[in-house]
Amino acid sequence: MATVQTPPQTQLTMVQAIRSALLEEMERDQDVVILGEDIGVRGGVFLITEGLIDKFGPERVIDTPLAEAGIIGAAVGMALYGLRPIAEIQFIDFIFPGFDLLVTEAAKIRYRSAGQFGVPMVIRSPYGGGVRGGAYHSQSPEAYFVATPGLKVVVPSNPYDAKGLLIASIRDPDPVVFMEPKKIYRAVKSEVPAGPYEVPLGKAALVREGKHVSIITFGAMVQVALEAAGLLAADGVEAEILDLRTLQPYDTQAILTTVAKTGHVVLLQEAPRIGGYCAEIAAYIAEHAVEHLEGPIVRVAGWDTAFPYALEKVYMPNAQRVVRAVKKTLNF
C-alpha cells in the first residue's frame, strides 16, 4: 500500500471521501471529466458531485440525457481520444441499458486493437441493499463485471479506501467499475487525508486478524463480517477478515495466506449465491489451497431471488448467518 503522506486528516463519510477524490483529481488533471445523470446542478442524487459544476463548468461536469448507453459509450469515446472520463451510473441497477458498451466495447478495445488504444475510464455507481430500494435500487451485480476480461472491479468498504482506490482507479490505464456501497455512504466515517493518495488496485486488506476461520468479503459486507467476528469472539472463535477491495484482479496471495493460516473459509457477499462472485474465490481456493481446507467452504449470500422490498431484512445476509456458517465449517 502506498504510504499515506500528509498531515491534514479529517473524519469523512464515504460520500465526502469520494467527492474529495473527484475534486482533487479534477484539479490535478485537466483531462479528467465526469458525466452522468443529474450530476451537475443537482449534484448527483447522493450529492457526491455537489458543487463540482460550479468549480469546473459544464464542459467537465457533464449532465447527460437519460441514457446509460450514451453515458458509457460517450465515456469510452472520450477515453479513446485521451480524456479520463468518470461516468456515474445513478444506481448500478441501471447499468444494463449500457451493458453492451461496457462488456463489448470498454472491456475489449485494448485487446482488439492489439494495445493501440486504451480505455482509461471509471464507471462509478452505488450498489447494494439495505436502503429500502427494492429490486431495482439494491442489486450487487459484480459477478457480471468480473466475468468480463478487460474490466477491473473495485469495491471499497470504508472512506479511506474509497478515496485511495478511486484515485488509483482514475489513474489506471484500464476501465474500472467502481462500486460504492450506498448503505454505508454516510454510516461509516474514517480518517481521510486531505491530499491525493492511492490505495493500489489488486491488494486486499486484512481488517481483522484471527486464527480459527477466514471470512473473505468486500464492500458493505465487511461491516457484517466485523459484527459476526464480535459475536464469534464472545464464543472464543477468532475470525480473520479479509477485505478483497479489488475483485478483479483479486489478491490471490492474500487469500492463500489466510486460508493456509486458518483452514476454514466463509465467503460473504450480498448478491445471490448461484454464479455470484464468491464462487470464483471458492473455486480458486479449491484449486490452489485444497490441502489446507479443514472443512467446507461455506458461502453466505443473498437468496437466489430478485431483491425484495418488503422482505429486505429477511433477504440480506446478516451477522447471525455468518456466525452459523462459521460454525458449520468449524464443526465439520
Partner: protein, 365 residues
Amino acid sequence: MRIEPFTDTPLSILAYDGTPKENPDSLGLGKDDYLHMYRWLVFVRGVDDRGYILVRQGRAGFYAQIAGQEAAQVGSALPLLKDDWMYPDHRSQGSMLVKGLSAAEWFGHVLGRTLDPTQGRLMPHGPGRRDLHIVPPASTVGNKITEAVGTAMAQRIKKRKEITICYMGDGATSEGDFHVGMNFAAVYQAPALMFVQNNQYAISMRTDQQTRTKTIAEKARAYGMPGYFVDGNDVLAVYAVTKHCADRARSGNGPSLIEAYTYRYGPHSSADDDTRYRPKGELEMWRTQRDPVTRMRRFLELRGWWSEEQEQRLQAEIKAQLAAAMEEAEKSPPPAPLTVFDHVYETLTPHLAWERAELAAELGV
C-alpha cells in the same frame, strides 16, 4: 378541436381558466361524463396526497407523486376498455386507479403489505394486476416500451380488438428502448399508444437538456408514426386525443405517439430536493394558473353544473372513502418471511427449496 399530429402548440379544448375554446360536446360526452371525469381527477389527487403522507410518516421508503399530472393520467386512461393492456411507468398511479386498481391496494402497495397485488415486492411506484391487464412497472426507465409493443403485436397476431397503452416520461424518450420500441410499433403497425407525460423534468434535467427538438411529439417522425402534442393539463383534450388514437389503433391503423405537456408539483420523488434545480416562481405559476383539477372544475362551474356545496360533498365523500381504504391497507399483514422464495420460477427449484429450509431453520418456523 381538430386532432392533428405535429402541431407547434399543444392541442387543447379548455383555456387555462376553464373556458372552452370550442364546444367539447362534439366529443360525444354529456354532463355525467364530465362530472365523472372531474370526480376521477379529485379522487386520484386525494389518493396521491394520502399516499405521500405515508413517506413523511416514515412508513414507506419511497414515493413519486403525480400531483399536477392528474389530467394526463385520467384523460388517457378513461378511453381504455376492460381488455386493453396498460404498461404504467413509475408515475402513473392515477391511470392505474382509473383502470381498476383500488385505493386500498395502492396504499397496501405503498406500505408493502399483502393487500398489494404485488405483495410488497417492489419499491412503491406501482403494483400491477393481471386481471386488469396492468403490468407492474419496474424502476428502470424506458425498458417497458418494447414489451408494451410486444403485447400490442400479440394482440394483433391474435386478431383481438384490443390496444396497449404505454406510459413514459420525457426522460424515458432518451433511452435506446424508446427508439427500438417506437420502430417496432411502426414496422408492425401494432395497436399501441405511446403516451409521454412530459412534465418538463427528468429529476433535475429539463427537457431542453434532454433533447434538441422542441417537442417530444415530433420524434414520431423518425418512425413514420403520427405524434400528437396535447395540453396535458386539459383533461378533455387528453381524453379526445387518446380516444382518437385508441380508435385508430383498434381499427388496425397502427400506433401513435402522444405527448401530454404537463408539470409535476412535487419533487421527483420523496428522495429528491427540487429546490436545487427549479427556477423560482415556476412551480407557483403552474400550480396557481394551470392546475388541471381546477381547470376542469371551472369548466363545470361555467356550465352551471358544479357548486361549492357539491365540491365539499365530494371532498368529504372521498375523504371517507380513502380513510376506509387506508384502514384496510393498514390491517393487511406484511408478507410472511418464507414467501421470499416464491415466484422466482413457477415452481421452487431444488436450490431454492434448500435455501427456504435454511431460512426456516434460522427463523424456527
